[in-house]
Structure formats: structure tokens, C-alpha cells
């Protein structure tokens, strides 16, 4: 089989090979314009409701003013379902319900019981993971391959991991007594709707807090299916409450006087507003904000693996990833060969229907986000930067899509090197030595993540140590695990999520 494949390839190469300066042989771009048959995931595995209500005190209910808004399937641009629009009154009701549940049930039951509920929830998520994955893809636009193989397994794993912590907190903080904070107000983004819900809810419940959570307005459907799982798991009423709507609902939640702790994942702009609005209160705050993470490729890297890592770093989830490797820093003497290989790999990315199992890059989450990407890319083009998009890539005629792209020859001061684009657009800079790479990587107000590609262990460790970032992926990128703390230095946030270190965000400690 293997030899056959090689033979076939070499036949093609005969016609089109070209040599680069490093002596490596590359086939031309058009060789890789494979046609794929459709491989659609059936959407019938999930019953998408016409309208989703709020989830307060263990029950689904309409918003007090009966208002709703539409949730759009970004792959079609058409309405998927209606979502209840919570008012301030609904937020009051949800917080009161969480406070009541905290005082009457959740803080009274044993840690072991808390643990059992979380284990139950984890199991139910596993059982319903396909329908949740399909809904996640229909509502958010991410490829089914990712929601099925990355998001949902991690959602279940997050509940499993934290379930076990509930009755073992004395080992998490030796010499200190950990107690819950109370009612936690959480606001989450649209890029990993269920995963962010799991990152927020699981540790909060494990440590004995109760929750009011607000999903992003463009991706509110899947968390309501999670609410059904909470019901099925017989989670006591009011332990988790879900309010849906836009920014003003989130503002009402984080500013509510009975919310003792705020956890937010999203944009820097909103994160700073939240931090400001609760500055004069005693509320604890954790923030997981944006990034402009550097992916550094040294000349001694395994080039093909690095190309794969750079692709995964920026085009995973359409680049809607806070820790996306959006700044490629490439050592100057391998830049030409690397860019050739990168372009070739970009031709192979399949952009389109998120429900197709072959799709690598799905739909941009919303029209608004697509406009934002276009706006920053236009600003980059105005700077006269070299802009590249895959030539063979064609986009669906409906819905919101964007071709995988990059800017080359970017300076550190450029808008595309400094602004978080949150889309499939890479900025490429070069460097001459490790010191320059480190200086360029750290030259950002952000400090969420970074990638380092080299086959030399001592270099990786030295560079990793010098980078001001909370997560360092060496010879890999965009890996996540509930046991692995995630969060940023500098303006990328405050606090960590996941792992033993992430628990401290949800407890009061006494020595």
C-alpha cells in the first residue's frame, strides 16, 4: 500500500516539482486540490427546540417580559431557534435561587454527595455527547470533527476531574482550610460554549459554590441541553441557574449584590469593564481574556511537524481561540521553505459545511465577527502588508465563512501583530536568534500562550522559561486537559482554570 502511494505521488511530481533553496522537493499547490465526497453528520440526532427558556431554580421558565431573540446558524445565516431574553428581574430571581440553594442544600450536603452529582453529570454528558456535539456545531459553526472529538470529550472529562476533587480539597491546599465563596456569577464566550460552561460550572460546584451563568448570545442553545442533564442528574434546584441574553444581562449578573465571585471568559474590553465595575466591592474576580500568542519556529525544528502545529495553532476552530497561535515567529534562514510548506498545507484545508465530517475550518461564528475580521484585515492591507489566501479554497455561497489567510513581513508595531483578530488570520514575523524571538514574543500586552518548535531540548526549556505566558506548548499546540491549569500572564487575564491550581479561584483559604 505504502509503496503504491509513493509511486502515485512521484508520478505527479515529475511534471510539477520545483526545488527550493534548501534543496527540499515540493509539489505545486494545485497537486493537492483533491475533491472530497460529502460526509454529512445527520442533524437529526439532536432535537433542536424552536425556543429555549431560562433555567432558574431547577425549572425552565420564560423570561419575565416574554422577550426572545434569535439564534442564527452561522453556516446558513438562517435562524436556528429562539432564545429567552432575560431581564434584570430574571437575573434577580436566578441569583436569589442560587443563594437559597447555597444556604439550604449545597453547603449542607456532604462533599461526597457533591462529588456524586458531578460524576453523574459527567456520565450523562458522555451518553449525550453526539447530540450535544451536533447542536454545538449547528449553533456555533465549528466543525463537527472538533465538537465531537475535542469539545465534548473535554466537557465530560472536566466534570469527571472536578467530581473527584469535591471530597479531597484538604489535599489541594495543605495546611490551609478551603471553604466555598458562595454564589458565583459566570459569563462565558461563544467560541467553546459547552466547554467554557464545563470549565466554569464543574470547579464551582466541586468546591461547594452555587452558580448563575450566562452563555454568549450567539451560542445559548447547547447549555440549555446541559440544563436538562442537570435535571436528569437530579442536581438540587438552584445549584446551577442559566440566564440568556446579551451584555446587559451579564452586567446585571456580575454587579448583583448577592454574587460573591465573578468569573469571566471573553474579550479584554469587557473583562476590564467587569473588573472596574466590581472594584469597589469585595467580589473575587477571575478573568480569562484575549491573547496574541506567538508560535516560535526555530531552524532546528522538525519542519513538517511545525507546519502542522502552526496550522493547528491558528486555523483550529476558525481561529476563534483565545490562545490561538496568531503570531508566527520564524527563524529567518528557514522562512522560505517554511512558507512554501505552509501554503501547500493551507491548500489542503477543507473549509465549509461544519456538519461535514471532512471539514477542517467551519463557519465564522457570526456576521458581527466576520465584519470584525474583515475590518482588521483591511487595516493590515492598508499598511501595505503582504496578504495571502489559499487559491484553491472556495467558500459556501451562504453563511459566514473566511478563507484561511496570513500576513507576511509583519512588524511588531503592525495592527495585525497587536490586535486579537479572533479569526483564521496568521501574522508572520521573522527573527535571527533566540534572544530576538523571545523579545518579539514578549512584546505584547497579552501573555496567554506560546508555542516553541525545536528539536533541541535545552533550547526549548530556556525559551519556555523566558516567555511571559501562562501556557507553553513545545513541539505541540492547542492541547487542553482538565488537569492542566490554563490562564494568562499580563493582560490576558487573572487566575487559572483547571488543575489543582485552578481550584483556588473558587475557595476561601484560611491558614
Amino acid at each position: 500500500m505504502k509503496t503504491q502511494k509513493i509511486k502515485k505521488k512521484s508520478k505527479v511530481k515529475k511534471k510539477t516539482t520545483n526545488k527550493n533553496h534548501a534543496g527540499a522537493t515540493l509539489a505545486k499547490e494545485e497537486d493537492f486540490n483533491f475533491a472530497y465526497s460529502k460526509a454529512p453528520q445527520a442533524s437529526s440526532v439532536v432535537k433542536v427546540k424552536e425556543a429555549y427558556q431560562l433555567y432558574i431554580n431547577g425549572k425552565f421558565c420564560d423570561a419575565s417580559q416574554k422577550k426572545t431573540f434569535n439564534s442564527i446558524n452561522p453556516a446558513t445565516g438562517k435562524k436556528l431557534c429562539k432564545i429567552a431574553l432575560a431581564s434584570k428581574k430574571d437575573v434577580d430571581k436566578a441569583v436569589a435561587s442560587a443563594k437559597n440553594a447555597y444556604n439550604k442544600t449545597w453547603s449542607k450536603i456532604s462533599a461526597r454527595e457533591r462529588s456524586y452529582y458531578l460524576f453523574r453529570i459527567a456520565r450523562l454528558i458522555q451518553e449525550k455527547s453526539r447530540e450535544l456535539a451536533v447542536l454545538e456545531t449547528m449553533d456555533g459553526g465549528k466543525p463537527i470533527k472538533e465538537s465531537r472529538d475535542v469539545d465534548l470529550p473535554l466537557v465530560a472529562a472536566h466534570f469527571f476531574y472536578h467530581a473527584g476533587w469535591a471530597d479531597k480539597l484538604q489535599y489541594a491546599f495543605p495546611g490551609q482550610k478551603a471553604s466555598p465563596i458562595g454564589v458565583v456569577g459566570q459569563v462565558i464566550p461563544w467560541n467553546f460554549p459547552l466547554l467554557m460552561a464545563a470549565w466554569k460550572i464543574a470547579p464551582a460546584l466541586a468546591t461547594g459554590n452555587t452558580v448563575v451563568i450566562k452563555p454568549a448570545e450567539t451560542t445559548s442553545a447547547s447549555i440549555m441541553h446541559l440544563a436538562e442533564i442537570f435535571q436528569e442528574a437530579e442536581l438540587p434546584d438552584g445549584v446551577v441557574n442559566i440566564v440568556t441574553g446579551a451584555g446587559e444581562v451579564g452586567a446585571a449578573l456580575v454587579n448583583h449584590k448577592d454574587v460573591n465571585k465573578v468569573a469571566f471568559t471573553g474579550s479584554n474590553e469587557v473583562g476590564k469593564l467587569i473588573a472596574k465595575s466590581v472594584a469597589s466591592s469585595n467580589k473575587r474576580v477571575t478573568l480569562e481574556l484575549g491573547g496574541k500568542s506567538a508560535n516560535i519556529v526555530f531552524e532546528d525544528a522538525a519542519i513538517d511537524q511545525a507546519v502542522e502545529g502552526v496550522i493547528n495553532g491558528i486555523y483550529f476552530n476558525q481561529g476563534h481561540v483565545c490562545c490561538a497561535g496568531s503570531r508566527l515567529l520564524i527563524e529567518e534562514n528557514i522562512k522560505d521553505i517554511f512558507l512554501k510548506k505552509l501554503k501547500r498545507r493551507m491548500q489542503q484545508l477543507r473549509v465549509g459545511d461544519p456538519l461535514d465530517k471532512n471539514t477542517d475550518v467551519g463557519a465564522i461564528n457570526s456576521k458581527e465577527q466576520l465584519d470584525k475580521i474583515n475590518q482588521i484585515v483591511d487595516a493590515g492591507k492598508k499598511e501595505g502588508l503582504d496578504f495571502y489566501q489559499s487559491k484553491t479554497c472556495s467558500l459556501p455561497s451562504q453563511g459566514y465563512f473566511y478563507k484561511p489567510s496570513f500576513f507576511n513581513g509583519v512588524s511588531s508595531a503592525s495592527v495585525v501583530a497587536r490586535s486579537e483578530i479572533f479569526g483564521p488570520v496568521l501574522s508572520i514575523q521573522s527573527f535571527r536568534n533566540p534572544e530576538e524571538a523571545i523579545a518579539k514574543a514578549n512584546n505584547s500586552p497579552y501573555g496567554l500562550a506560546a508555542g516553541v518548535w525545536s528539536e533541541k531540548g535545552s533550547k526549548i526549556l530556556q525559551v519556555a522559561k523566558a516567555l511571559k505566558a501562562g501556557v507553553i506548548w513545545s513541539n505541540t499546540y492547542n492541547k487542553f486537559d482538565p488537569t492542566s491549569p490554563f490562564g494568562g500572564y499580563k493582560e490576558s487575564g487573572q487566575g487559572r482554570e483547571g488543575g489543582r491550581q485552578g481550584l483556588s479561584a473558587y475557595v476561601e483559604l484560611q491558614s
Binding site: S474, D481, R496
Partner: protein, 278 residues
Amino acid sequence: MKVKKTIKLFIGGKFPRSESGRVAPQYFAASKTKVSAHYCQASRKDFRASIEANKKAEGPWAARSAYNRGQILYRIAENLEMRRGEFEEIFISILGYSKSKANKTLEQAIAAFVYYAGFADKYSQVLASLNPVQGSQHNFTFPEAIGSGVLAEGSSTKFVELCNELAALLATGNVVTVLQSPTCALLLSPFAEVLATSDVPAGVVNLLSASNDELMPVAASHMDVLYITLLEDKDLALVKGEAIHNLKRVFRAPANGRSIESIAQAVEYKTTWHPTGF
């Protein structure tokens, strides 16, 4: 006839006057009108110069071995012990402490440096972790210094708490500008001299006598200040509000004195992944 000493600032290992030329009198506790000495009042510009000196010292200090940082902290304790009479005399004459209170204060201040000297090469073993992630990946998390920041004493002298937090910050490899309360500005002089003779590299600790009302808003909004530790609640809301511009970390010193808490809040966690396999 005695020679009176002017209390100057301590920035980048040097003892400058305030660039503003401002000085203020420090009175004896007993008379309230009799001047013990004059001290330099730090200005906004002095503060910025201090942070610049901190920034230069940041990398090399964090790169010192944990063992070396512990050695230097212990050296501070030794030098404090040697000069404790001088400190006690200041507490008695300026703040009106009793002899036993002054004595206890020094004992606790010295204990702070000894305690965190012994923590410098251990806290990362307590706080770090090897994380059992799925897949063929090696993954570990360890605490690192945040960088340059401010330790503000507040509206009254709290020397023991100040030493606790300062020692914890130094043990973890942070560099710091200390805003000392002018209620006992005289302390700055022997304290700076202790630091200067304990092998603390220039710029790792800077000491400024400062009015909080003037310098807190400047510190809270300075973009190169990455953390602020407060010893009292008074300015907490102001600092948290201003801190949002660069999301500086804002800490209130733990109430219980020496513990891992002061260390745990003064670090950033870095998680590193690497694949395993042949």
C-alpha cells in the same frame, strides 16, 4: 553636638534625594514639635524612576537560583539583627513604642526574613505540579515571579507586615518598589542600608517615603507595575479600579502573618507541554 542625617530615598542601589527637592520634617513622638530629622518626599517622577530601576533588575533577579535568593534573605535577617538596636530606638523615639514593643517588632521583622529565606527553595515544590494529562504528553505547572510591582505600607507604619510581604515577594523572585509610610520615615535609612549591604542587587528593592494620596493613583495606573500589594483596605477600591488598565494583580496582605499565602498570591503559574514518544 550631634550630626543630623537627612533621610534620602533608595532607588537602584543608590541614595538619591527626591528630584522634586521636597523634604519634610519628622518629629519626635515625645514633643511632636521637635524635629528628629528631615526626610525626602518621593514625587511621581521618583516613582517612575524607581519602576525603571525595578524593570532592569527584574530578569536577573528571577534568574538567580532559589538557593541564592534564600541566602540573600537570610543575610538581610542577619544584618537586621546586628542593627536591631538602631531600629528599636527609632520606633521608641518616633512612634513612642515601649521598649518591649519595639523589641518584639524587630524580633518579628527578623523572623519574616528567616522564614521566607527558608521558603525560597521550597515553595515551588509545594505549589508546582506534574499534571496527568491524557495522550502522549508531558505536562507540568510551576510558579514564576510576576515581575515589577509595588508594596504599599499605607497610612501608618506596619513594619512587621511590610517585612513579611517584602520577604515573600523577594523569595519568589519579584522586584518591588516599597512605598513606606511617612509616619516613621526615619526607618527608611537603616532599612535601605541593611538591604544595600545584604547583597540584594541594585533595583530589586527600592524604598520611597511617600504620601499615599499622591503616589497610589500613579502606582495603580502605571503600565509597568504588574502587581500591587496593600497592607490596608483604605486604597483597595481605588487601586482595583485603576489596575484594570494593564490588569495588574492587586493583593491585600493576608491577615495571618507568615504563611504560604503571601507566596501563593505573588506568583504566576506557567504550564508547559511537550509530546512524549520516540
